[in-house]
């Protein structure tokens, strides 16, 4: 069976797994966006807390995904729970870092001007600082999504959902019929999803960046 025949004969399963993969990554990245921005907003005014948040995010980042997934089996068991927690944690890191960097990079004079015309701290954050930092935050989200797509494949090892299943079935059938097709389908599916996500983020970036700072 060649690759096209394989794709054709398994199209329903493959589409389902692709959908699962995309939906898992999207949900985890959204959760990480909410948590990460909240965390970033909470710490960005204090250099010490910012350094601590960015530093611990960096340390967590060096921990390999297989190790983290393995560690999560003990408290959470197999399946969706450890995959979602691990994906959200990894997605959190670039988002927290970029939120802090983006908010810290806002020109102080603009913040002073906003305060000077009588805006409250919350209004300054919502109407001046956050829109200006948004492109940087969105870049973080994009990195997070690409990362989560790749780690999502390893999540199949702890029985997580998604295209990783194809890769691990291919590995389990090493040398047998369809092993190359399965692995190739899983890998290329994730590459395609990554391109799709990137395109979406480009679009979202265009639509949500304030007009004044669009390039």
């Amino acid at each position: 069976m060649n690759f096209w025949e394989y794709l054709h004969s398994r199209r329903e399963l493959l589409l389902f797994e692709t959908w699962q993969h995309a939906s898992m990554v999207l949900q985890c990245v959204l959760a990480a966006l909410i948590l990460g921005v909240a965390l970033g907003v909470a710490v960005y005014r204090s250099p010490r807390w910012s350094a601590l948040a960015a530093g611990s995010a960096g340390v967590l980042f060096t921990i390999p995904s297989l190790a983290l997934l393995g560690l999560l089996i003990t408290p959470l068991g197999l399946g969706v729970a450890p995959s979602v927690v691990a994906l959200t944690l990894y997605a959190l890191l670039p988002i927290v870092r970029n939120t802090i960097v983006g908010l810290a990079g806002v020109d102080r004079t603009l913040v002073d001007a906003a305060r000077g015309i009588g805006m409250s701290r919350a209004a300054t954050l919502a109407r001046v600082e956050f829109p200006l930092a948004w492109p940087v935050i969105l870049t973080g989200v994009r990195v997070a999504a690409q990362l989560a797509l790749g780690i999502g494949a390893i999540a199949a090892y702890v029985s997580g959902p998604g295209l990783g299943e194809q890769i691990f079935s291919g590995l389990g059938r090493l040398g047998g019929a369809n092993s190359v097709n399965m692995t190739l389908a899983g890998t290329l599916g994730i590459v395609l999803l990554a391109l799709l996500f990137d395109g979406c983020f480009l679009l979202v970036g265009r639509l949500t960046t304030p007009r004044g700072i669009r390039d």
């Binding site: 983290l68 390893i154 692995t183 590459v191």
Partner: protein, 256 residues
């Protein structure tokens, strides 16, 4: 007022020996944590499977295999990515560079596990397949870092170097590479950490390494084995990251 501060910062950046105790504190903590974990595991009550897999000799072998996978693949990645990056940033290759970068960006979105398994399915399993897969996965970010590093060198500096009569090779060696060194070295550090993580996947294709403890722990449902693998991989990643940071500081040219 600012000059002494800048001076002190520069000193801190380039003279890790001056405050060696603080530089050595982090690896000391990491090693102590690893040793403490091993002592705790060896003294706790283990059943026959656990005690066989967690024998100090076996764990040490796996750790050494992991280090080998990481170092060999990183060296190969550098041997490929840095010359290629330099070649692609030459004037005559300017037109190929965006194509290669676009390809690198797409290739990087391929999941590590997919690349590793695909090569194993095509070539068979083992240490060297794992190395080839790790190199294939690690070349792209290192290549991109080299190209970005060389591209951000101020063109007026290379012009000046050429203007005082340096041949292109000397411009590259004495001006461009030193100025690009921080970015390239940061890329090497990222590659090292990436390789530690990806090397743990090598155990799926019989490449050895600490991933073996994780997979054994999962398949035999022995939590202590699983935890030991995870803890040691994480500690090794932190240690290698520290090593990369020290190397970046020592190798970066002074005055930057």
């Amino acid at each position: 007022m600012t000059a002494p501060v800048a001076e002190r910062q520069r000193e801190g950046l380039h003279a890790p020996t001056a405050r060696s105790w603080r530089t050595l504190l982090q690896p000391a903590i990491i090693l102590a944590a690893g040793l403490a974990w091993m002592v705790y595991i060896e003294t706790s009550s283990l059943d026959s499977i656990e005690s066989r897999v967690l024998a100090p000799g076996y764990v040490a072998t796996k750790t050494w295999e992991h280090v080998q996978l990481t170092l060999v693949s990183t060296l190969l990645v550098l041997a490929i990515a840095v010359p290629l990056g330099v070649a692609l940033s030459r004037r005559w290759a300017r037109r190929a560079a965006p194509v290669v970068l676009a390809f690198a960006n797409i290739g990087q979105s391929a999941p590590a596990i997919g690349v590793v398994v695909l090569l194993a399915v095509l070539w068979g399993v083992g240490f060297w397949t794992a190395i080839v897969a790790l190199v294939a996965y690690g070349v792209l970010p290192a290549l991109r870092n080299t190209m970005v590093g060389l591209r951000q060198v101020d063109p007026s500096l290379t012009d000046a170097a050429r203007g005082i009569g340096m041949p292109p090779v000397t411009v590259l060696r004495r001006v461009e590479l030193p100025l690009a060194a921080p970015v390239i070295l940061a890329g090497i550090r990222t590659t090292l950490v990436l390789m530690v993580g990806t090397a743990s996947i090598a155990s799926f294709i019989n490449g050895g390494g600490l991933g073996d403890l994780v997979t054994t722990g999962v398949t035999t449902q022995r939590t202590p084995v699983l935890l030991t693998g995870c803890v040691l991989i994480a500690l090794l990643a932190l240690l290698i990251d520290w090593l990369g940071g020290v190397a970046a500081r020592l190798l970066a040219p002074k005055g930057l």
